[in-house]
């Protein structure tokens, strides 16, 4: 126990400018934060490629410094990525898309400041939570991750998919249809077991072009198009600035910060959700934000507010996409298994530093580079280094949020500029964002196609979030189901304890809300029999 606390403390000291190497690490951290800040805000700059470009610069650094640099950048992109989501409806990072759904309407209501304040503050809370989770889970990390094998993965994917119901905005058939559409999109590409092309539109595009669909459809390009293009159309039609009415005191940044603490339970729950999703390698950032959003919807009393500017819709995803960073470090550090592209690059940094991800990174006594330590160089122990990671996550986000708050007010005023001036820029950013994911012109077509689709969906009241959930979880579900059946037989995987537990959770999450609703209805009916039944169908627009 003492060992842990000691390492926890040393981990912090090693990155503060109190010692020589600490100062080096701190400067590296500041540089990383600066880079990550800009990368997060700009759609079109992706986290993984930026990390790869930063990697050579770490060759001369010692481990603490190198990771302060890299993690400092990575941790922050999830925070600043929410800014353009709120202001323009264009996600700065793929993982910031869910913040658009309620964050941008808030901007349109003149509450841009509030939305930004909420997004950033919840990001900070989420980041800290995720980092602390990483710290606390260390003794039990390895057994924890090892418990989640393919059958459990499959069940978790199904659990995620059931959240589609929550995102349907009261329009169950439409929601499920769109969820099915997402699942259908997920099946585009080579099938996971035999590599047979499915729905790759070869007769239409020709063999050469259809290759672009072999790895599946570009999720980020779709998201950007689906949400941003309707917003641009909206801007173009209404002729005002993004904000349709002037903001008042209640729309300010401080209000957003207060919101975060008002809804502290939701923020914490979504942070937890994000962290645990991050822990599961292979899930990536996509599900975390949408499941958090779905949870925020589900746990609210008045679901009809969502899609129109409910601050909870910003708090949930804002927290989750940050906490998942801390979570996804866990399999990377403890097993060398990267959960996302950024983590894969980070693993490269491990190798460059001569570190081995595994149990030794959790060891409070062994220096991570015994040979260098023998030479008298300053080398932290595995646990100290891991805790330095934790502190980097925390400190980099504190700095970012503090700096961002300085000009958040000004940023919010962009929403008051007349639409015509910003439309061309936003449109270019949209195309840029869609393009740079995989650097290919074909994705631009995706942006437009799904942009038009998204516009039609808004026009005719079809909810969009279920599509994203189906898309990110569909492939995972099928893949893991097949692996499970190969290993355990067609049904043999079902009687595993993990599977049963998650199965129960699924059933509960499916039936609990309606059971709760029925109970509420009964109570209200008993209280006042003249009240109209509050269970009337609600139309929420997503």
């Amino acid at each position: 126990m003492i060992d842990y606390l000691d390492a926890f403390y040393s981990g912090l000291l090693n990155i503060l400018p109190l010692t020589d190497h600490g100062t080096d690490a701190f400067i590296a951290l500041l540089l990383g934060v600066a880079i990550g800040f800009v990368v997060g805000i700009l759609p079109g700059l992706g986290g993984a490629v930026t990390l790869a470009l930063m990697l050579p610069f770490t060759f001369g650094m010692d481990p603490t410094q190198a990771f302060a640099f890299l993690l400092g950048a990575n941790a922050v992109t999830a925070t600043t990525g929410d800014i353009t989501s709120v202001l323009f409806g264009v996600p700065g990072e793929g993982i910031s898309a869910a913040t658009i759904v309620d964050g941008h309407p808030m901007a349109k209501n003149g509450e841009a400041g509030r939305a930004l304040g909420a997004a950033l503050m919840s990001s900070l809370v989420g980041a800290i939570f995720g980092a602390l989770m990483l710290a606390i889970a260390i003794p039990i990390i390895r057994p924890l991750v090892l418990l989640i094998a393919s059958p459990e993965f499959f069940m978790l994917a199904i659990l995620g998919i059931t959240f589609v119901a929550a995102l349907s905005g009261g329009n169950m058939f439409k929601g499920l249809t769109i969820g099915g559409f997402g699942l259908g999109l997920a099946m585009i590409g080579l099938d996971p077991i035999q590599g047979i092309p499915r729905y790759t539109l070869e007769p239409l595009l020709g063999q050469k072009e259809s290759l672009f669909l072999w790895d599946g459809i570009n999720f980020v390009a779709i998201t950007v198009g689906l949400f941003a293009i309707p917003e641009i159309i909206d801007l173009g039609v209404k002729g005002t600035g993004i904000a349709e009415r002037a903001s008042d005191k209640l729309g300010g940044v401080t209000e957003g910060v207060k919101d975060t603490f008002r809804h502290w339970a939701l923020v914490l729950r979504c942070s937890a959700l994000g962290t645990y999703i991050g822990i599961l390698p292979g899930l990536g950032g996509g599900p975390a934000q949408w499941m958090a959003y779905a949870h925020a919807v589900q746990s609210a009393e008045d679901k009809s507010r969502f899609g129109k500017g409910a601050v909870e819709g910003v708090l949930g995803p804002g927290a989750a996409n940050n906490s998942k960073e801390g979570g996804s470090l866990i399999p990377t550090i403890a097993f060398g298994i990267p959960g996302s592209l950024s983590m894969a690059v980070l693993l490269g940094a491990f190798i460059i530093q001569g570190l081995v991800p595994g149990p030794n990174m959790l060891d409070p006594n062994l220096p991570v580079r015994p040979d260098a330590a023998a030479l008298g160089e300053f080398v932290p122990t595995g646990l100290e280094l891991t805790f330095s990671f934790v502190w980097v996550l925390i400190i980099s986000n504190i700095i970012t949020v503090a700096v961002a708050f300085l000009f958040l007010g000004q940023l919010a005023r962009i929403t008051e500029i007349r639409g015509a001036l910003i439309i061309p820029f936003i449109l270019l950013l949209v195309y840029l964002g869609g393009f740079t994911v995989a650097n290919r012109p074909q994705d631009l077509a995706l942006v437009i196609i799904f942009g038009v689709l998204g516009w039609l969906m808004v026009k005719y009241d079809w909810p969009r979030p279920p599509m994203l959930l189906g898309l990110v979880l569909g492939r995972l579900a099928e893949n893991r189901l097949f692996i499970s059946t190969q290993i355990h037989g067609d049904f043999g995987w079902i009687d595993r304890p993990g599977v049963i537990i998650i199965g129960v959770i699924i059933l509960v999450s499916l039936f609990f809300p309606s059971w709760q609703e029925r109970r509420q209805r009964r109570r209200l009916r008993n209280a006042d029999s003249h009240q109209p039944a509050p269970g009337a169908p609600i139309d929420g627009d997503f």
Partner: protein, 469 residues
């Protein structure tokens, strides 16, 4: 020579010079040197002999001067030799510099350099440097093609992966070995297991030597089996620059199931124990190919569990005890699977067979995968399949790239493989190196594509019988 020169300048009494016609010797030596330099000059596109060549040749010429000759005499002799060569109208002076300039440089350097306590080597070096700078200053009538340009390296996989890491490491250093010192920029062009990049390079990239590709060469074999309609290129038409390493797939098994050696693994399989290998559905990956090939040629019945996307997912599955064994490249396994290899007992990942012999102590005494093949024909299949693993992650140029540019790139690649700065970087990044030159790769490629019909039919199981012969 040393003492004589020093003595001549320093004032010590010099021994009387031997009565040899030093002038003739020097003149001939320099003439020979310059002639061989001129004939070594590559084809029209490059600007004559490099300054280094001239300098080293003059150095060599100076070495044959007998002792006792003064600096001034040496300089005069060099000048005379150069003048004589020019007068003889022999095309021996490098393009872009006159004989007079060479002689002048040699003269001045010899004069300036001859100081007390100077060694012959130092004198030679001084003269050589002077000549070098004179020549290089005179030369730039025709700038190298690559001057001021950027080379794009299209990497078929995403940032952070093995291909990307090797590519970027080399890209950082190869530029300085190319005349003109271009920048090399890495672009990731991902998709379809790098076939998108390969196809692009084959049919759309301009063959001007400015666009290069790094994609999965295992597709060559898959094309020979006709297993992938998405492969739309002909391997023999690419220009092959070089490869940083070969591939050596190694098979390992987790400690928790029991068998620890190849023999035990085969025995266990024959006894009916179910041994699960984690594999991928992507064709051309050793993850899937090796266990399948082994089952076919040795008669084992290892259980092929497909669906893991990449070796990192397989590593997780191994640790979760979801699968028991796997085979993939040692260059990757020894680095990313290090924790598993170093673990103890049940959690230990034990290598039990390899493809090629290796000096790495961890695997040097493991049996070869093909050792237990049941007959010669089957053993031969391993040789055919493994031809593609003799080089991995090669750099390529589009078909039709001018030969001299390909040669320039090849030379630069080879030079980079010996560049100490690159080696230091590669070492840091944990990159295993066993370079292969472009010319050799070409031969291997030809071998791969010459796949016989019978072998093609026999190996169709590697592409799940979806190919043709």
């Amino acid at each position: 020579m040393l003492s004589a020169v020093i003595a001549a300048c320093g004032g010590e009494a010099a021994p009387a010079p031997a009565p040899v016609d030093t002038g003739a010797i020097v003149k001939e030596a320099v003439e020979q040197a310059l002639k061989s330099a001129a004939s070594a000059a590559p084809a029209a596109s490059s600007p004559g002999v490099s300054p280094e060549d001239v300098a080293s040749l003059i150095q060599d010429a100076m070495k044959s001067i007998p002792k006792g000759v003064s600096a001034a005499e040496i300089a005069k002799i060099a000048k005379d030799a150069a003048d004589a060569a020019a007068a003889a109208n022999a095309p021996v002076i490098p393009k872009g510099i006159t004989a007079k300039e060479v002689a002048q440089a040699a003269q001045e350097a010899a004069k300036a350099a001859a100081k007390p306590a100077m060694t012959a080597e130092q004198l030679q070096a001084a003269v050589a440097n002077a000549v070098k700078s004179a020549v290089s200053e005179a030369i730039p009538k025709e700038a190298p093609f690559y001057e001021g340009k950027n080379i794009r390296l299209l990497v078929g996989y995403s940032a952070g992966g093995g291909y990307d890491t090797y590519g970027r490491a080399i890209a950082r250093h190869i530029g300085k070995h190319i005349p003109g010192k271009p920048d090399v920029i890495v672009e990731n062009m991902t998709g379809a297991g790098s076939t998108i990049a390969a196809n692009y390079l084959f049919s759309e990239a301009k063959p001007d030597g400015l666009t290069l590709g790094l994609w999965n060469s295992n597709h060559l074999f898959i094309k020979a089996l006709d297993g992938n309609p998405g492969i739309m290129f002909a391997g023999e038409k690419f220009g092959w620059i070089g490869a940083p390493s070969d591939g050596n797939p190694v098979c390992g098994v987790m400690g928790f199931i029991g068998p620890k050696t190849m023999d035990e693994m085969v025995k266990a399989s024959k006894e009916g124990t179910r041994i699960k290998f984690g594999t991928t559905s992507e064709f051309g990956s050793s993850l899937a190919d090796v266990p399948r090939l082994h089952n076919y040629t040795v008669g084992t019945e290892w259980d092929i569990i497909s669906g893991y996307k990449g070796s990192s997912k397989v590593r997780l599955a191994l640790q979760e005890k979801e699968v028991d064994a796997a085979c993939w490249g040692w260059e990757s396994m020894s680095v990313t699977g290090r924790a598993m290899l170093d673990a103890e007992g049940e959690d230990k990942f034990i290598p039990f067979a390899k493809l090629f012999p290796s000096e790495d102590p961890e695997i040097s005494d493991l049996p070869l995968l093909q050792d237990l093949a049941t007959d010669e024909v089957k053993k031969n299949l391993w040789d055919i399949w493994s031809a593609g693993y003799r080089f991995q992650r090669p750099w390529t140029t589009p078909p039709g790239t001018p030969d001299d540019r390909l040669q320039t790139l090849r030379q630069a690649f080879d030079a980079t493989m010996e560049d100490p700065e690159f080696l230091a970087d590669a070492n840091k990044a944990g990159l295993y190196l066993k370079p292969m030159k472009g010319e050799e790769i070409e031969q291997h490629v030809a071998t791969i594509l010459r796949l016989g019909k019978d072998d093609c039919k026999a190996l169709q199981f590697l592409v799940l019988d979806r190919g043709s012969c």
